[in-house]
Symmetry: C2
Subunit: 360 residues, 2 copies
């Protein structure tokens, strides 16, 4: 099989030029006489790419000076525990807005550590919409308000930033970070697992306002305390060097193509093409309310559910892979992150048209 | 610079044949039409390598049926917290034997969660020896006894397994795992960060006796609970797929060359050559008591400390890199893990001889 179009929700496609660079860097990375996975993280060469990686990410996202960028392990799911341990007391209230599966998981884990108030839960729309902020039942004195910028499984994405007087907004941006410009200063903490728009799994990026660091509960494990990372340039112990290195290559690539404004316009183009095709069709449908449709993850259903298996099989044979929806919801899902080229979306639409013609 | 001999303590050298396989697997891994870092961890192909990786590790180490093998993130340092949270109550006593820097760190973190009894501390020998077990001050009812099989910084390695009636022995085997056969059944829990003898940083292997799983404290974060990994084949959330894949290649390589008995004889040969050379010299010295000298990490000092910088500079120029001792102890250190070939040790000895002749 030659190279495919990979619609996986994560781990997911990585820009071709980055993959080629990785290949070139084995076995002799940067003239060091060894590959990057064999280099000491305390060595001059690795420290240089670590610093450059952070500064390029700051540049791309316009991270303000009073925010730190931390490189953590454990995936976004470990943040579900780290956030309450670092930002709240066991007796205090924390607000969660649930717009899909990941927000629900975050709230469940949060409730092990603090009093969770569900300020809003989109269950009434079967997670195809986001409740108007005026109708949220926010607490007066929550230690933070947690949201999920983009729900990877349901394909629901915020088109606004909640208003919160003096309450830090904490957001899971795993599947939408770097897909568009973002006003970091509106958030207290942003976190994202790497395996969508950043790089290989095993790395989580945390962007945190400095005044929120150093308040962890005394029983917090050292490696779950943000201060540990802040005090050590995220090198308290050996970091996941390979994921860090690839993230650095991805950030450089994004700068080279024109930054987040450029990638946003490409992402709008890709998503619009696919949504427009789905909407004009009687054969396919997307359940999400138009205002809250994700640009990154586009789930779709067949009118005739019995044809789903055949759709997956034939699309795979056509080199369009990982289109199966998440096991919890079924159907199909096309994840079209930054690395997915417009050709991939066009090929998918062609395939969908042919499949409809043959099965409609 | 062509390829070098890499004496780094971790991240460290990886077998050449494995590095070559990684290069071949970009951009098209295993005929999937994508690289391994882009593949879904829930896909058929990745699940297959995950299973094979575990079964090959079990084969190599002879892991008994009543032990589970877990794949965790966060490095050995996260185990310093996970162990007390999973194996002890906050009111109970846990024993630690300190034979160097890592054991000291483990005990310090452990004391955040339980009552730590230091059963032995080699400080009296400046961590160049291990106290006789008869002289340890063990607790009668400790929840576990923690030891460090090989101290990476000091180069001190156990040549015995402590006796412990009904008390699980927990050991940090980060820098000696897979360097020799081991009787797993003598331990309750073995853990090891990947970046020495296993693969790229970002993965920790935990081998745990089944009856020790499922006893975590209620406040344990989900991803710090061994049961979470045991219940999900270590795929509760997205695992560090690249490190997992490389570990699989390393395990296959070890099986191919003849398993742990074969690698042990090679390791004995390499370490003996270097120790013998150091011992016969008046110019170099190793401070560790002969019985407890590490086969993996060999620190050495120059009689004339003022020549150290020159030694590091010249050896680097000769393609012998990362020989600088840990910043906490100074001097030199040659880490000669499994992947270091005997030629590397011979080249190092030749260089040391020349350096002595020119500077002695």
């Amino acid at each position: 099989m030659t190279l495919v179009h990979n619609f996986s929700a994560g781990p997911s496609a990585i820009p071709k030029i980055v993959i080629e660079q990785i290949r070139c860097d084995f076995p002799n990375w940067n003239g060091t006489g060894m590959s990057v996975i064999e280099a000491s993280h305390r060595g001059k060469e690795f420290k240089e790419i670590a610093q450059e990686t952070e500064s390029n990410l700051r540049l791309l996202l316009g991270v303000p000076k009073n925010y730190q960028v931390l490189f953590v392990q454990g995936g976004a799911s470990l943040q579900f525990s780290m956030i309450p341990l670092n930002l709240s007391a066991s007796t205090s209230v924390v607000d969660y807005v649930i717009t899909g599966s990941w927000g629900k998981k975050a709230a469940k884990e949060g409730s092990k550590f603090s009093k969770v108030n569900i300020a809003s839960d989109s269950i009434h729309s079967n997670y195809t919409s986001i409740q108007n902020e005026e109708d949220w039942r926010k607490s007066a004195n929550a230690d933070y308000l947690h949201m999920t910028s983009n729900e990877t499984i349901g394909g629901v994405e915020y088109n606004f930033i909640p208003r919160a007087k003096n309450i830090p907004i904490v957001t899971d941006m795993s599947s939408s970070i770097l897909s568009r410009p973002v006003d970091i200063s509106k958030y207290g903490l942003i976190y994202a697992g790497a395996q969508k728009n950043i790089g290989p799994a095993g790395l989580t990026i945390v962007i945190i306002r400095e005044d929120l660091i150093g308040k962890a509960r005394s029983e917090t494990p050292t490696l779950l305390n943000y201060k540990t990372y802040s005090d050590s340039n995220s090198m308290y112990n050996t970091p996941p060097v390979f994921s860090w290195y690839v993230a650095g290559l991805v950030f450089k690539y994004l700068i080279d193509i024109g930054g987040l404004s450029k990638i946003e316009s490409l992402n709008i183009e890709k998503a619009s093409l696919l949504y427009e095709y789905i909407d004009q069709s009687e054969f396919y449908s997307n359940p999400v309310k138009e205002d809250y449709r994700s640009r990154m993850n586009i789930p779709f259903l067949l009118k005739d559910k019995s044809k789903e298996e055949e759709f997956i099989k034939q699309s795979h044979r056509a080199g369009l892979v990982n289109l199966k929806g998440h096991r919890s919801v079924g159907g199909m899902r096309a994840s079209i992150y930054n690395a997915l080229e417009i050709a991939a979306v066009n090929d998918l639409i062609s395939f969908m048209r042919d499949f409809e013609n043959n099965n409609g």
